[in-house]
């Protein structure tokens, strides 16, 4: 069998062509060819788009450092005498209590979501139950139910249980808000654990606990980080439940921001300082963990 079959011959031909093409591309790269100029143009364009889309956020932070009079000018000022007085006013205006409430509600609800959703995702991937697909859709359908439709009984029950304006009420409500997407995300990461590795562990007599802590957890750790980040973003930023069910006792950051607007008035520099402080934790967390997000949000769409 020395002659190549037609299929193999075609493949060999393709490989040769690909290699030739790669060689030509590499030499192109050294030249100041049209393609290279074109590439530069795209890079500049990408940078421009990124700056335009980021600009509102940049402007918010910039305005926060302005004295109030510099916030209202035509044309808008980029060069001004920066001040920290707006931040100081916001910090003395009672932002610490809502910060604590937001941090508590976000941390506890995110931890609860992970604890509840991880076993569920495990049962839908590593050792799947029979009707795993229906179960996944059940969770996704729940996410589609508008929370507004349930706000009336939630409000009345919370009122009767004296849970209105209480951190725990928000914790209880944020868990199901994030649970469906957490199950989906964790499942997609668990699917990436090679079956061979699990089999090997089992042949070696690993029990469920060893399998989880020694084999699965190290592999899916980035996935857990990505899932936690998504839960943190949505809990920290949640507004509808927070504004309707909390007030002075357990108000979170978004509620504080609205209250700040009504008590302090529409002063841009001060509002921007308050907004910047409200957004900062989540923006920093998102920046740090952004790489995981790219993989995590695909939810194992195609496997």
């Amino acid at each position: 069998m020395t002659t190549l079959s037609p299929v193999e011959g075609a493949t060999a031909g393709n490989i040769a062509r690909v290699l030739a093409y790669r060689r030509s591309r590499r030499s192109h790269h050294k030249l100041f060819g049209r393609a290279r100029l074109f590439g530069h143009a795209w890079s500049v364009f990408t940078w421009l788009i990124a700056i335009v889309l980021f600009f509102p956020v940049f402007w918010m932070v910039l305005t926060a450092f302005k004295p109030e009079v510099s916030a209202y000018t035509v044309p808008p000022q980029i060069i001004f005498h920066p001040t920290l007085s707006e931040f100081a006013q916001v910090l003395s205006g009672g932002i610490l209590k809502p910060f604590e409430h937001s941090a508590f509600v976000t941390a506890v609800s995110t931890a609860a979501v992970l604890v509840i959703s991880f076993p569920a995702a495990y049962a839908l991937s590593v050792r799947p139950v029979k009707r795993w697909r229906d179960t996944m859709f059940f969770f996704l359908t729940l996410k589609m139910l508008p929370p507004v439709a349930g706000i009336i009984p939630i409000y009345i029950v919370a009122r009767n249980l004296h849970l209105l304006d209480n951190d725990w009420l928000l914790v209880i409500l944020y868990v199901p808000m994030n649970l469906p997407i957490a199950v989906w995300m964790l499942r997609s990461f668990l699917l990436e654990v090679p079956r061979e590795v699990l089999d090997a562990a089992r042949v070696d007599g690993a029990n469920v606990v060893t399998e989880l802590t020694r084999v699965i957890l190290p592999i899916v750790r980035p996935g857990i980080v990505a899932t936690a980040l998504i839960c943190v973003i949505f809990s920290w930023n949640e507004f509808f439940f927070a504004v309707n069910l909390t007030a002075t006792q357990a108000g979170t950051m978004p509620v504080f921001l609205v209250g700040f607007l009504t008590t302090e008035g529409l002063y841009w520099a001060k509002l921007c300082a308050a907004s910047t402080l409200c957004c900062l934790p989540v923006i920093l967390a998102g920046w740090i963990a952004q790489k995981h997000l790219v993989r995590g949000l695909a939810l194992g769409a195609i496997k």
Binding site: P75, P76, V129, M144, A149, I283, I302
Partner: protein, 323 residues
């Protein structure tokens, strides 16, 4: 020949797995018990979501048959279907339905188109790619209430807003964007917030595309447009569908932006269903009508959701279980 060789060996692997699984679960309780052991990890999630999400919905149905003004003690009594009649007779309700569809569809479509464009721009090597990605995901991380405030003041303000400043060379002066073009203004904010989310999902799709296939296409002389329409788009299609689905789920519930920037107005121009329900309950204290509207919204959403899920069903239909 090949088939007869591989088939038994594959089933042998299956058998070994089966034996291992049985050994794992003690093999004493039989098939029924094993199935329950497998289901057990799902139980906490099931119980929790059913108690916290399904019970309120059942309660909503009950309240929808009653008339109850929260401010009037003793006003709680059975009225049958009268609340439903009131909702359907309320012209604002129909407007809210139309507004919700318009708002969600336009914001999701614009965010997705921008997201696809950004993802394609990011999916190549260039100077400062990491920084650009960092800049681009930021709008998604900003608290919606804060971005609503930011756009309302520093962007849309008719006197000192940046939009006015940028457009002034084109002869556009002192436009009160939020009252003149309320819907496009809100859609812009939502699309700005969600385009990064779409970008991240599409980027994951683009990065999983095989470079060999793309190079082969180039070798065979395919144009950029051909490569996109014949190869790249079919490949990222499931990711686009997923993004549209998830984006819709969140944007249909948009509340903060409307609450902060337009309060549903001017008039009812930007009143979507969440804001309509909010007004019924927390401004009019009308539990019966609010609950009836909630039930109608729920049934409507479920109908849309079933169609949407059928779409996604094809996405994970190809999802092979491990092994």
């Amino acid at each position: 020949m090949g088939d007869t060789v591989t088939a038994p060996s594959r089933s042998t692997v299956e058998r070994i797995r089966h034996v291992l699984d049985r050994r794992r679960e003690g093999d004493s309780g039989g098939a029924g018990r094993r199935r329950w052991v497998r289901r057990l990890p799902l139980l906490p999630a099931f119980v929790y979501v059913i108690v916290v999400t399904q019970v309120p919905f059942i309660a909503t149905i009950w309240y929808s048959f009653r008339s109850w003004n929260l401010l009037i003690p003793g006003s709680n009594h059975f009225t049958g279907l009268r609340s439903y009649q009131e909702v359907f007779a309320d012209p604002t309700f129909l407007i809210a339905v139309i507004n919700t569809v318009e708002l969600t569809a336009s914001a999701v479509i614009i965010a997705m188109l921008v997201g696809i464009g950004l993802a394609m721009l990011l999916n190549r090597e260039f100077f400062g790619r990491g920084v650009v990605r960092t800049l681009l995901i930021t709008p998604f991380l900003v608290m919606p209430v804060a971005s609503a405030l930011l756009w309302k003041t520093t962007m849309y303000d008719p006197l000192y807003g940046l939009l006015d400043f940028v457009l002034s060379p084109f002869g556009i002066h002192h436009v009160a964007w939020l009252s003149t073009f309320p819907m496009p203004a809100i859609v812009t904010i939502l699309a700005w917030e969600w385009a990064p989310f779409m970008m991240l999902i599409v980027l994951a799709g683009l990065q999983s595309e095989s470079l060999e296939v793309l190079e082969a296409a180039k070798v065979d002389g395919a144009s950029t447009v051909q490569t996109f329409t014949r190869l790249t788009f079919p490949h990222i299609r499931p990711y686009v569908q997923l993004g549209v689905l998830l984006g819709s789920v969140y944007i249909i519930q948009a509340f903060g932006e409307i609450f902060m920037d337009t309060a549903g107005g001017p008039g009812t121009a930007t009143t979507n269903l969440p804001y309509y329900l909010y007004e019924q309950v927390f401004n009019a204290y009308n539990v019966g009508v609010g609950a009836a509207a909630g039930v109608i919204v729920l049934i409507g959403t479920e109908i849309v959701a079933i169609f949407a899920l059928r779409l996604v069903s094809s996405l994970i239909a190809g999802t092979a279980m491990i092994g």
